[in-house]
């Protein structure tokens, strides 16, 4: 045993002495280096640390120099419910292939499995985080990538659970291909500039699958947000691109596929909203382009408050939503044009693919329900359909100007 270790020591020495600047240190439960913290302290800046399979009971491991730490076959770092497990405080650190579990929990401190604090160009990849308070916490970082990690926790209470991937005051982060479940928010951004978030799967979180606050200029695409307590919230931001995401199965009286609040100049395109209580909710938002989304089998496709203005809903497919549009005012400051509405019953005599009579997305029945919620039980009844039909011919209750003048006859592919 001693022999092999001295061999590896010699190899390490040789590597260093041959000027590669990359020392390699192996950590293993059987020694000689049995602690990750110890290995970090031993390592030269820019060195490699390889961690063999096993369970390491360590917490508050601090990385203060550029390093690559790689786990072989997912060695477990058990934080023993004390504080943060791994803290990165240096630039160009890579952490790969660990299973990290049992962080501390606190109402005062945000303990995380991995905290990246004021660092640049990090890579946190392919780790499994289990039963953690916060998962991966980025504070005042620049660039850097969080990729292909899985994060799962089991506290079903919103107040006492932490976020899966938490970004605070960061620039240009890339969040790719992670799977998050059972956290408070799957992915949380606050003052994050130009974040790129894609290919993530955020589900069964207590609050939001993705939560955007004061974060301008980012983009998120190709993500799946499923069955989160309150869906996805994007608030107080501008120039955000939201593309090709799937928002589905977000159910509950305050649950949204996508909640938009105080958003400006952003694009929502090519997304699919499937079976959410409210697919898109908008409050005090303006200049949004909602284009070519599939909005199918939701309770309400769009709930738009009158505080929202100059938003453009174009070429979306509204398919068998219980209600297409809900609003709280008889006036309308938004544009609905050229969408496909499966509830449209008009005709197209000139065969140009556009219905000859406008479509009114706010149904009479949705107004009845707003006044007398118990009448919900009459949904889809023949009597209600007759009332709706009468209302379409002679609108009395529904907003006069909230209409799609050019409803498509065919679903937009």
């Amino acid at each position: 045993m001693k022999f092999t270790i001295s061999i590896s020591g010699i190899i390490g020495f040789l590597l260093i002495s041959f000027g590669t600047a990359h020392g390699q240190i192996t950590v293993s439960p059987n020694g000689p280096v049995t602690s990750i913290q110890q290995a970090i302290e031993m390592s030269e800046p820019g060195g490699n640390i390889e961690v063999k399979p096993g369970t390491y009971f360590e917490n508050n491991i601090e990385i203060t120099k550029p390093l690559t730490i790689t786990g072989e076959n997912f060695p477990v770092i058990d934080g023993e419910h004390e504080g943060t497990v791994l803290v990165i405080r240096a630039d160009s650190v890579t952490v790969k292939g660990f299973e990290i579990k049992n962080t501390g929990r606190s109402y005062i401190r945000d303990y995380a499995a991995i905290l990246i604090d004021q660092a640049k160009d990090f890579l946190v990849e392919n780790n499994r985080l289990d039963n953690v308070f916060f998962g991966i916490y980025l504070a005042e970082t620049e660039r850097g990538t969080v990729k292909n990690n899985t994060i799962e926790s089991y506290d079903r209470r919103e107040a006492s659970s932490g976020n899966g991937i938490h970004l605070w005051n960061v620039k240009n982060p890339e969040i790719i291909g992670n799977t998050v479940q059972g956290m408070r928010d799957g992915i949380y951004l606050e003052f994050a500039e130009d974040a790129r978030i894609h290919g993530n799967f955020s589900h069964k979180n207590n609050r939001y699958g993705l939560h955007y606050m004061f974060s301008n200029g980012g983009t998120y695409y190709d993500n799946v947000f499923r069955d989160n307590g309150a869906g996805v919230a994007v608030m107080y931001s501008e120039n955000v691109d939201m593309k090709n995401n799937l928002f589905e199965h977000n159910w509950g009286s305050s649950s949204y596929g996508l909640l938009l609040k105080d958003m400006r100049h952003s694009t929502i395109e090519g997304n699919r909203f499937y079976r959410n209580t409210v697919a898109i909710y908008s409050e005090s938002s303006s200049n949004l382009k909602i284009h070519r989304n599939d909005i199918e089998l939701n309770g309400w496709a769009v709930n738009i408050k009158s505080s929202s203005a100059r938003n453009y809903f174009t070429e979306n497919n509204f398919i068998e939503n219980s209600f297409d549009v809900r609003t709280d005012s008889p006036r309308n400051n938004n544009v609905f044009e050229g969408n496909y509405w499966s509830n449209y019953e008009g005709y197209d005599l000139d065969r140009d693919g556009i219905g000859d009579v406008p479509y009114r997305p706010v149904s009479h029945f949705s107004i009845i329900i707003d006044r007398q919620p118990e009448s919900l039980i009459l949904m889809r009844s023949m009597f209600i359909r007759l009332l709706d039909m009468a209302e379409r011919i002679m609108p009395v209750l529904t907003p006069q100007t909230l209409i799609d003048e050019q409803p498509k006859m065919q679903r937009i592919q």
């Binding site: 009286s253 409210v278 068998e320 009844s381």
Partner: protein, 264 residues
């Protein structure tokens, strides 16, 4: 006993199929479902349109079909009654013999296009729900037609009149009355009452089950505690399903009773 019932049942199947009327009925649903899928769009859309048609027309067709059978086969039924056979056996044989072909026509007619357009696999549970509900509604309303035919055995005008009135009432007016109630007593807590009232109408029951399948997301948005509990858990589907079973049992049992006691 059982073999006699089956004997009558198979005989009815044979003559009804030869009558082609039932086959035509199945073909209508086949063409309807196919064109809904071909020109209408996705599976959910087609299934919802199909369920709208089903909720409206199956009750009417079922009742008319049931009552018409009684009126048309009066002499034959009387001849059968003079044979050494239990009336109960005869009733089940005749009732199942004419209602199941109609039910099968709807289910097979609608299922084939759903199958070849792949919807059965994509939206399996929703398809099963719509087809099953159509089947149960067929049985319920054929037996209601039977009861009406037996009750107004000698007065066909009255029999058909009642059929139309009952259909209009159950399919359309009933919901208008519920809506009126809701608006009249709007300031009282009405949820429980509204659920109970809807359970009394089999068409509403079937509609609620369709709702539970397709509009669950909207139902979950409703904040009232009773509705949320009812629709949010399995309670809703089990209660509605149970009530539908009762609705199936009551008219068939009533039909049996009338049939057993009737002077022909």
């Amino acid at each position: 006993m059982k073999s006699q019932t089956l004997h009558i049942l198979s005989n009815e199947w044979k003559t009804l199929l030869r009558g082609k009327w039932v086959i035509g009925y199945g073909l209508i649903f086949l063409m309807l479902t196919d064109s809904l899928l071909r020109f209408g769009g996705g599976g959910a859309e087609a299934l919802l349109s199909l369920s709208n048609v089903m909720l409206l027309f199956i009750p009417l067709v079922g009742m008319i079909y049931g009552i018409l059978y009684i009126y048309q086969s009066r002499e034959f039924v009387e001849l059968l009654l003079t044979q050494p056979i239990d009336r109960k056996v005869l009733y089940w044989g005749l009732f199942l013999g004419i209602s199941t072909p109609l039910m099968a026509a709807f289910i097979i007619g609608s299922m084939l296009p759903l199958g070849w357009h792949g919807i059965l696999i994509l939206d399996g549970s929703a398809s099963a729900m719509v087809l099953g509900l159509g089947g149960i509604l067929t049985l319920i309303f054929v037996s209601l037609g039977f009861v009406l035919g037996l009750k107004f055995y000698d007065d066909r005008i009255k029999g058909f009149g009642f059929t139309i009135v009952i259909w209009l009432f159950m399919a359309i007016l009933y919901d208008g009355l519920v809506l009126m109630l809701v608006f009249t007593f709007g300031h009282y807590p009405l949820e429980r009452f509204v659920i109970a009232v809807s359970m009394l109408n089999p068409i509403d029951l079937a509609r609620i089950m369709v709702m539970l399948e397709f509009d669950i997301s909207a139902l979950m948005g409703y904040t009232g505690a009773v509705f949320s509990r009812f629709f949010g858990s399995n309670l809703g589907i089990f209660t509605a399903g149970g009530m539908l079973a009762i609705w199936l049992a009551v008219p068939t049992w009533l039909g049996l009773r009338v049939f057993k006691q009737k002077d022909f």
